[in-house]
Point group: C2
Chain length 207, copies 2
């Protein structure tokens, strides 16, 4: 039998303590410190905190939106699955439209990926929503285009697409001009659904 920590509460506590010891949180504002720690926890890399980019007040904007009952719009089902429902303050709806049967035809119609096309179905829910991009750069680019086309603005954009083609560029585009929408993003190639879900969970409430 191995000697290992079997207590989930202690594992969380010790993990967060290690991150706080190893990471430089000095430039992270108070309303995003918990988010920064949870994002690092999700990927096992304290140094991702150095790559976080955000607008002032983004954490507060996200918490207020959740408290007001904002829906959470996710580009992928893995992010949606990673959001801990018990942490959501207003039984907030978690929505992923990627599997909607209209999406393949929409993708052909707009000449984009299915993940980007799935955002067409967000239009009626975008106003004041929490937008979570944990997978596809095309979804983040398309979101910025939709805002330029005049859709109602979300309350917060959590931009964590991952990968080698467009991920760094789409997050750079968000950080360079978020169209006045509060945002948190991670510059570079790193990202993913676990970090995106962890960011949402950090804006929820402790049990």
């Amino acid at each position: 039998m191995y000697d290992y920590n079997r207590d989930a509460h202690a594992i969380y506590r010790d993990s967060f303590a290690i991150i706080r010891r190893e990471a430089d949180l000095s430039r992270i504002p108070p309303d995003l410190k918990a988010l920064a720690v949870r994002v690092a926890h999700a990927c096992g890399m304290p140094d991702v905190i150095d790559d976080l980019r955000f607008s002032a007040g983004a954490g507060t904007a996200g918490r207020e939106a959740l408290a007001a009952g904002a829906p959470i719009l996710c580009d992928g089902r893995m992010s949606a699955e990673g959001i801990t429902r018990a942490r959501l303050p207003a039984d907030n709806e978690v929505i992923c439209t990627l599997s909607d049967p209209q999406v393949p035809a929409l993708a052909k119609q707009i000449g984009n990926t299915r993940t980007a096309a799935a955002l067409e179905l967000w239009r009626p829910r975008l106003e004041g929503a929490l937008v979570v991009i944990g997978n596809a750069p095309t979804a983040l680019f398309r979101l910025l285009e939709l805002i330029d086309e005049g859709v109602a603005k979300p309350a917060l954009i959590l931009g964590f697409p991952v990968g080698f083609v467009g991920a760094a560029e789409s997050k750079e585009a968000l950080a360079a001009d978020s169209r006045g929408v509060p945002f948190v993003t991670l510059q570079g190639r790193r990202g993913g659904s676990a970090m995106a879900a962890a960011a949402v969970n950090a804006l929820g409430q402790d049990h």
Copy 2:
């Protein structure tokens, strides 16, 4: 409107080409090269390939198990969600027992986390299965304990728990003595459900 790649097929192709250009795949055997590339793709980090540890023939063992209809046992719902069903060669069952109502009581009974306790419900399905640990170090430790207790052995262990407490240690334990079970793992703190699901997807078939 941004200038970005909107073609999912081209994005995959270009991403894999970048990884093959940047990563050192020379020590990766032929039956694991696709897996290595997909794991790097899932996290945006080609250098994870340097941290892969595996037994000889692990990729072939996984492909043969899937072709024979092996169930896929996942420690978390995010990993289960990330497995592309269309890539599975035998309509293989994807099983995650974490939400089973028996799990909280089992966790108290065995004095371990719920994720580790959920493995108790794997016992009847473990023989010849693909085991996917994409989240909890306690699940990987517990799996090794179950094998020592005499459960029927799985066909392959994909060990990708992530984090700061027990992740590196559990993967080191697997690589040091997998009890004769074929395995692929990632040494260190890095890992997670996206990499674990990508490893499974690499062992499936192309469309």
